[in-house]
Every structure is written in structure tokens, then in C-alpha cells.
Subunit: 191 residues, 2 copies
């Protein structure tokens, strides 16, 4: 998606350790026009597939997932990273390893909110090693729901998670795919 | 807002300890039509005030804040609850006490994303003791930005936080104000 690639080149900052900082428009501060354009593109990519639920993980996936769900006119569900007092009853859970934080955590969603009737699109902001999408796919599997595919704002292709998921049969669409990222700030995209 | 009140009466569940579970349409699973209607109502309440930024806290505030910002055509910024490796440089911070979790945490936003040029609307899902809004207002104050007001999806009026904030001069709009909530599930609204 040209608009997003242009913005990454203009405002993205490459930090040590393979971190791409896009906080000024995509993450902590979100450009809502760009967000809507991105949501429309995801809706276009997945049209005609009878998706009836969008699933993401808190918290940086919520804005793009919510925008996509709004364009698709379906509910958005987000998995929480810890079991809280607001989650009661039966839950679906999966373990996820965070590349950014170097820790493992549990993701949890109430089994009321993800069921065997659902045709699910996974949405997240970043795809690196693919651990978040793997965890979300496990929730979909536990619920006996149907996984239609995944859409992410930015895929760090060089980390291999997206290609591994594709090799295992998941449809994965990235609005911007980063082929390489150098310490001098040079970013190249995969097309 | 009648639509939201009706939905709370239909699907809201009163849990022990003053917790209202609205996960099936407002929190973990989000009805996107309702979310858009709520965002339009917030936009209507605050129109003509030259708001140029919407500020919230991760993670349950993000969906409504993002929807409001999209209707207002302004950026949305969310404060993070912990300093992560993705936040570098100067940051604004405030301490917040969580009523739900019984803990204190720090909220952090990059000073690049909240500046003295900003006319800020605070948006959050729930208002109980008002601690989240107080923390966000402190960030606005630290940034020398202008606080226009706050909008929340649901105010638990009986916990007093909203009225305390109003008494201190903050404009606070709630789309649904809960006057009382009984253990037998009875909910009454303030109008």
C-alpha cells in the first residue's frame, strides 16, 4: 500500500535491535485518515469471504482491528494479555512469546465472544516472528471457528514469521512488507 | 444516549464489587455500529471547539477513542501503561490508581505526541473514581496543552469521580450515566 510505505519512509525511525518506530502515525499517535484508508484496503482484500468477526490482541492491534471491523460492519474482539476480574466464565487461552519484550504471556478471550459460527479475520499492527498471529489462530482453533486469514499493517519480512505462516497455509496480507531495515535508517519494501 | 442505555439493560451483567460487565458489546467484543453511533454523539457534543487531538489510555479506551478521532478527523494518541522499548526520548508521565485492579501504574506518552499546540479531548470507556481522567489531565497539563473536556462511554455516577472532576472545572460528558447498580442486576440511569 503506497500511502503507508511513503509514510514509513517519511516518519519511521529504525532503532537498534530490529525495532521500527512508527509511533508518530501508526502506533501511539494514530493518523485516523491513514487508518481508515488502511481499513478500506483490508476490507477490499478480504471482500466476499463472509467474514463475521475481527480478532486482535490488546493493545496496539485494537485501533486497526476496530477500523477494519467498522468497514466490514462486523464485531471486533480483542484478546487480553492477562486474565482480569472482568473476565468470568469459560475462556479460551493461548501462550504468546513477545519478540519486542522478550517475555511470554497468556492471551485470553471469553468463549462467549468466539464461537464455531465465526468466520474470523485476524488483524494486528506488526508481524515479525508471527507469534501473535499463531496465538490468535490457536484461539480460533480452540473455538472451532473458521480462520479466513490475517491482515497486518506492517510485516517485517526479514524476520520470517509471515512466510512461515503462509507456508503452513494461512493467508497473510501485509499493507506494507519490509524486506530489509538497516541501522543507517534505510528501509526497503517487498512487493 | 438511549441506544447505549438500552444495550446496557439488555446485555450488561452486574458482578460483585461494583463491576459492570459489558464485554459482549462495548469492551472485549465491540459492536462497531454502536461504536460509530457513540463516536458521532461525542463529535456532536464537542463540535465547534477546535479539538485537534483525542487522548486515551491503553487498552480498553482505544476503540472508542479511535472511533471518536476518526469522526473528528484528528489524530488519536494513547498513553501506555508501562515504559517499553518502543518509547524513546522525552516522555510525559503520570501515576494512576486502578480501581478495577487495585494497583498503581504509570502512564507514559512521548512528549512528541502531545504538545502546547494541542486542544485535547480525553476519551475513555469507563469513568468510576475518575483516576484515569485525572492521570490523562496531568499529561495534558505537563505538555502545556489545552484540555477541552472528557467523554466516556459509561459513567458510574455513584462512585463520584465524574462529579468531582466537574466540581473542579472539567467538562465531562458520559454517553450513559449509571445512577445505581444493584446486586440483583437492577440498573438505573441518571438523566
Amino acid at each position: 500500500m503506497q500511502l503507508l510505505e511513503d509514510r514509513i519512509l517519511q516518519e519511521g525511525v529504525v532503532l537498534p535491535g530490529g525495532v521500527l518506530k512508527v509511533g508518530s502515525f501508526l502506533n501511539q499517535k494514530i493518523d485516523q485518515r491513514l487508518l481508515r484508508d488502511m481499513a478500506l484496503e483490508v476490507e477490499r482484500l478480504y471482500q466476499g469471504l463472509d467474514i463475521n468477526k475481527v480478532l486482535t490482541i490488546e493493545s496496539s492491534g485494537i485501533a486497526i482491528a476496530s477500523a477494519v471491523a467498522m468497514e466490514m460492519d462486523v464485531p471486533m474482539v480483542f484478546a487480553k494479555k492477562h486474565k482480569t476480574s472482568n473476565v468470568d466464565g469459560d475462556v479460551l487461552t493461548a501462550m504468546v512469546h513477545s519478540f519486542t519484550h522478550g517475555t511470554d504471556y497468556q492471551i485470553v478471550v471469553s468463549s462467549d465472544y468466539l464461537t464455531s459460527d465465526d468466520r474470523v479475520l485476524l488483524v494486528d499492527d506488526f508481524l515479525a516472528m508471527g507469534n501473535s498471529l499463531k496465538g490468535l489462530a490457536k484461539l480460533v482453533d480452540e473455538a472451532n471457528a473458521t480462520l479466513i486469514g490475517a491482515a497486518v499493517s506492517v510485516e517485517k519480512c526479514f524476520q520470517g514469521g509471515g512466510d512461515e505462516l503462509r507456508a503452513n497455509g494461512m493467508r497473510v496480507e501485509a499493507l506494507a512488507g519490509i524486506a530489509s531495515m538497516e541501522n543507517d535508517g534505510t528501509i526497503t519494501f517487498r512487493h
